[in-house]
């Protein structure tokens, strides 16, 4: 059996699978003020009377990290930043507890200026005096050489609760994002670890021996122990659960668009050959651009409960929500009311919906039906145009080789998957606008829990081999090691595969789920003067988001 639970902003969904058949499913309102209670309550309830020994996997997707950041319930973080030459500190400062320190590494990972031991001592003293318990240490190009970050951490260490190191967050280059990611990880570390503590206590109490996994923003999972060190990876797991749910429920293998129409917002995602697209660098949360691997989604302020206005001859939808639809006791007309008036759905109170839309029709000086249709059309148009823009942006992403420029794959979706309240009434029209056949997946109401339950463990490895310097770095591992001068691209690929496998097993992956993919494979001759002095080899490998092995069959209730 597999248990999947998604604690969302409004609802908590839970699904218990047995041989890939839905054995039980439930959906309850989330208690925002006590997420752990919501989570454990549902877990206890759904496992009631089940044979816990038969449970082989539990996956949670929670909003705990997202909420902490969005609501600003975060700890003070003392940041030590070694910025070296480049952007001025004024463009890098993230909070008042930021200190810029000596030490600089260049683009090839060579030390340019060393760490000032006394300076770090003073800064540590300052943070202690300020009562700061959580620190972040970030260096420019630390992914090319983690030495300074490690040295600074060791110099600071002692009585701090936690220190996050920048190079462990991601192998990608982007110093400001590395700073933001490190900051957020340290800022939510305490809150998240309290949450993990509760889950582990519960596990012990009920005598569960099943491994517990947590869903990440990239639609993959990692084991709960590992998540305690990298809480920031768990942000925005809600949209990821929804996308992975659609993938599980539809077995999508081609290019497709997925749209989740909610009350206030609509989320859009894109599949390329059945794989959900990732943000190239990382997700953005509350204005913080990060290096956190995450599924690419676009959220627009238009949903079933969006406020509808008529101004200057134009219908506008959203972006805000002003209570529920009029048909459900709200005060303002909404797209949902328009769909009720048009007879596209029979939910709610038709009379109240007609009354609300009627007000608008009067000021538009057109019949009720026409007004409802214009609201409906405008809602669909806005969502379709956002999806179209997203596709254009993906297909026009800059590339850096002639080969990709001329041969690069273009995404041409043929299917639109649509979930959410108004999915039924909107599917046909949205499909028409996007030139896709529209599909509403079965069991869409618990898609998020299904997505969490069946997502495989994901991870990545970034390798840089510099045979001139005879050094190889694996950023995510904080590993820098010597290599022979004749180290080749094949050797690098081999190391990458090995490391990726090792990492995947560490975070709890099952051997059969480690489906590797090489996402970057570059090799450059390094020439100094007029002769070859070495090779610069860059390999990035990942276990891409997807479903666990054996979940290939049809899901049945």
């Amino acid at each position: 059996m597999i248990l999947g639970i998604d604690v969302g902003g409004t609802h908590t969904d839970a699904v218990l699978f047995e041989n890939l058949q839905v054995r039980k499913k439930t959906k309850v309102l989330t208690k925002q003020e006590n997420l752990i209670e919501s989570l454990l309550g549902v877990t206890g309830e759904i496992l009631q009377g089940e044979n816990l020994k038969a449970l082989r996997r539990i996956v949670f997707s929670t909003t705990i990290s997202t909420n902490a950041i969005v609501q600003g319930k975060i700890d003070r973080v003392g940041l030590a930043i070694a910025s070296g030459p480049g952007l001025p500190p004024s463009l890098l400062k993230i909070s008042d507890d930021t200190r810029f320190v000596s030490g600089s590494i260049n683009h090839r990972g060579a030390e340019v200026a060393s760490v000032d031991v006394k300076e770090i001592g003073r800064i540590g003293e300052h943070f202690r005096k300020e009562g700061i318990h959580h620190l972040g240490v970030v260096g420019k190009f630390s992914t090319r050489n983690p030495k300074h970050e490690i040295q600074i951490r060791d110099l600071l260490n002692g009585d701090f609760r936690h220190i996050t190191l920048g190079h462990r967050m991601s192998g990608n280059l982007n110093f400001p994002r590395r700073i933001a990611t490190t900051f957020l990880n340290a800022a939510i570390w305490e809150t998240y670890n309290a949450f993990v503590g509760e889950i582990l206590k519960f596990k012990k109490q009920v005598g569960l021996e099943t491994p517990i996994y947590i869903l990440k923003a990239d639609g993959g999972t990692f084991d709960i122990g590992h998540s305690a060190e990298f809480p920031v990876y768990t942000i925005l797991s809600g949209p990821a659960a929804s996308i992975m749910g659609i993938l599980s429920l539809t077995r999508c293998t081609g290019d497709a668009i997925a749209i989740d129409v909610g009350g206030t917002t609509t989320d859009i995602a894109v599949f390329s050959s059945g794989v959900p697209l990732l943000e190239p660098l990382g997700v953005t949360i509350e204005g913080h651009r990060t290096l956190i691997r995450g599924l690419k989604t676009r959220s627009i302020g238009a949903g079933g409960d969006s406020r509808v206005r008529y101004r200057n001859g134009e219908i506008t939808i959203g972006p805000e929500r002003d209570g529920p639809a009029a048909a459900f006791g709200g005060r303002q007309p909404t797209p949902t009311d328009a769909m009720i008036v048009l007879g596209l759905t029979d939910i709610g109170d038709l009379h109240r919906a007609a009354e609300a839309v009627g007000h608008l029709a009067k000021s538009m000086k057109i019949p009720l039906g026409e007004a409802a249709d214009r609201i409906f059309q405008e809602t669909c148009r806005r969502i379709a145009s956002a999806a179209g823009d997203m596709l254009d942006e993906i297909n026009n992403k800059p590339v850096y080789t002639i080969h990709e420029m001329l041969e690069g794959k273009k995404i041409r979706p043929e299917t639109l998957y649509i979930v959410g309240g108004p999915a039924g009434p909107m599917a046909a029209r949205l499909g028409e606008l996007l030139g896709c056949s529209a599909v509403i997946p079965p069991h869409a109401e618990v898609a998020n829990a299904v997505g969490a339950a069946l997502s495989r463990n994901t991870t990545e490895v970034t390798l840089l081999a510099d045979t001139e310097r005879k050094i190889m770095t694996i950023a995510e591992e904080g590993l820098q090691t010597g290599i022979p001068g004749q180290f080749s691209r094949e050797d690098a690929l081999e190391v990458c595969r090995e490391k990726l496998r090792e990492r995947a097993l560490q975070i709890g992956a099952a051997g059969e789920d480690i489906e590797m993919e090489i996402v970057e494979d570059l090799e450059f001759n390094m020439v100094r003067g007029y002769s070859r002095t070495g090779k610069n080899i860059r390999i990035k490998a990942q276990v891409k988001p997807g479903l666990i092995a054996g979940s290939g069959g049809e899901i049945k209730t």
């Binding site: 480049g86 683009h107 280059l173 110093f175 800059p398 850096y400 001329l406 001759n525 020439v527």
Partner: protein, 436 residues
């Protein structure tokens, strides 16, 4: 400093090289990419990256006579780097951004009007292809090209030698000490465009101080008087103190300062082969300066301003050269009568060397002296490839007399008699290109 919206077209062509160990190879912009990515410049809200377009043969025909044809003298990479420059211009001229930087390769400023092959690592002139494309789309513009590559941009000079509406200013290491060996103050433009070519040769070991002196005391005042609609910077980065094939002492911050004062609408990368020690820092400096952001923390790890100071003699020499050239510019109108008298045609005969492709060309160019347009041009060119061509070039905004004469010549020239392999008719006014 006012923040500006800056477009960046980055195309490092990671799969293209002239040859495996050539300076113009795959690795050239690798560390620049690393630095630009690590600085997170593309995340800044006022810096927007655009994918380059691919230039078309028609874009090339507007500028060059490629012998025997476009396909045989270029690769896809040239079309993309020229396309990158065109994209930069499009984004600026449609108001999407305030300015743009085409950080692309391969470069182009040694490519002349007639192209028998590659010279100075260049096959087609990407700035000229961009300029003629934007003139076609957005109207006849007065354009100034300020070439800050360490090598004289003899290709751009050749293409705009007779064009009074394109001002070409080059500052470079003295041609007596560096390829291509041209770019002296006496090279001052063709008879119909005197003064719209300006060359400022600088002695080896010129540092930031010298470059900025020429900028402040010559380039900016001349631009002020020329009043261009657009300023384009051919932003070669080989004046850097660490460049392996030149002898200057310019720094990353110097480049950024130059850019901040010049305020180009469009910058296009040209040369620059100190791929580790200079390019990553120079490019970050230029991008920040274009975007109106603080570049004071940009510095090469090994930069020592004291050691890079220029000598007093150099300072004095530069002051004199600058003042002489400025006087020349001031007198450009009266020079025409003085130099030409009542001649009706002017002839240039040159031996042109294609160092990259090892080709030699003998070229005779005749321009009709004209007060009403840039003047009809005919070119007779023989190359060591055994190609012998004749080209008739009708200038943009051509007067009726130049056009009529050009059409007549093209119709009457006897290909067989002169043993010519190809005849070309390039009408830059009507955007027509004919090969016989």
């Amino acid at each position: 400093m006012r923040k500006k919206k800056t477009g960046l077209i980055f195309f490092p062509a990671f799969d293209w090289a002239i040859s495996p160990t050539h300076p113009e190879r795959e690795e050239r912009l690798l560390y620049t990419q690393d630095q630009v990515f690590e600085e997170g410049l593309l995340d800044l809200e006022n810096i927007i990256e655009f994918k380059p377009q691919v230039a078309t043969p028609e874009d090339i025909h507007r500028v060059h006579i490629c012998v025997p044809n476009v396909k045989s003298v270029i690769t896809e990479s040239h079309l993309i780097s020229a396309g990158g420059a065109i994209t930069a211009a499009d984004k600026v001229l449609t108001g999407v951004v305030d300015n743009a930087f085409a950080l692309v390769r391969p470069p182009g400023h040694h490519a002349m009007r007639v192209v028998h092959g590659a010279r100075g690592f260049c096959n087609i002139n990407i700035e000229a292809v961009m300029i003629e494309n934007l003139r076609k789309k957005y109207g006849r513009k007065r354009i100034a090209v300020v070439d800050t590559d360490c090598h004289h941009g003899d290709g751009t000079q050749d293409i705009y030698w007779h064009d009074p509406n394109t001002l070409y200013i080059s500052i470079h290491q003295d041609g007596r000490t560096l390829y291509p060996g041209t770019g002296f103050p006496e090279e001052f433009g063709g008879p119909n465009a005197l003064g719209t070519t300006i060359n400022v040769p600088l002695p080896p070991n010129t540092s930031d101080e010298g470059f900025l002196y020429v900028l402040d005391h010559l380039i900016l005042p001349v631009l002020e008087e020329f009043k261009p609609d657009l300023v384009i910077n051919s932003a070669g980065q080989d004046n850097h103190y660490s460049d392996p094939i030149t002898n200057m002492r310019f720094s990353a911050r110097g480049y950024a300062t130059l850019n901040e004062r010049l305020k180009p609408d469009i910058a296009v990368l040209e040369g620059g082969y100190s791929i580790e020690g200079a390019l990553p820092y120079v490019n970050v400096g230029i991008i920040l300066a274009m975007a109106g952001l603080d570049y004071s923390a940009v510095s090469e790890p090994d930069y020592d301003p004291e050691a890079m100071k220029q000598s007093k003699e150099i300072t004095k020499y530069i002051e004199e050269v600058t003042s002489d050239i400025y006087m020349f510019w001031k007198k450009r109108e009266s020079l025409k009568a003085e130099l030409l008298g009542d001649a009706r045609y002017a002839k240039r005969e040159r031996d042109i060397h294609y160092d990259t492709d090892r080709i030699r060309e003998q070229q005779q160019e005749i321009v009709r002296i004209c007060d009403d347009c840039g003047g009809l041009i005919t070119i007779d060119s023989v190359a060591s490839t055994a190609n012998h061509i004749f080209a008739v070039i009708v200038p943009s905004a051509a007067c009726s007399a130049c056009r009529a004469e050009g059409e007549k010549i093209f119709d009457s020239v006897d290909k067989a008699k002169h043993r010519m392999t190809h005849l070309y008719f390039q009408d830059r006014d009507r955007d027509i290109f004919i090969v016989k």
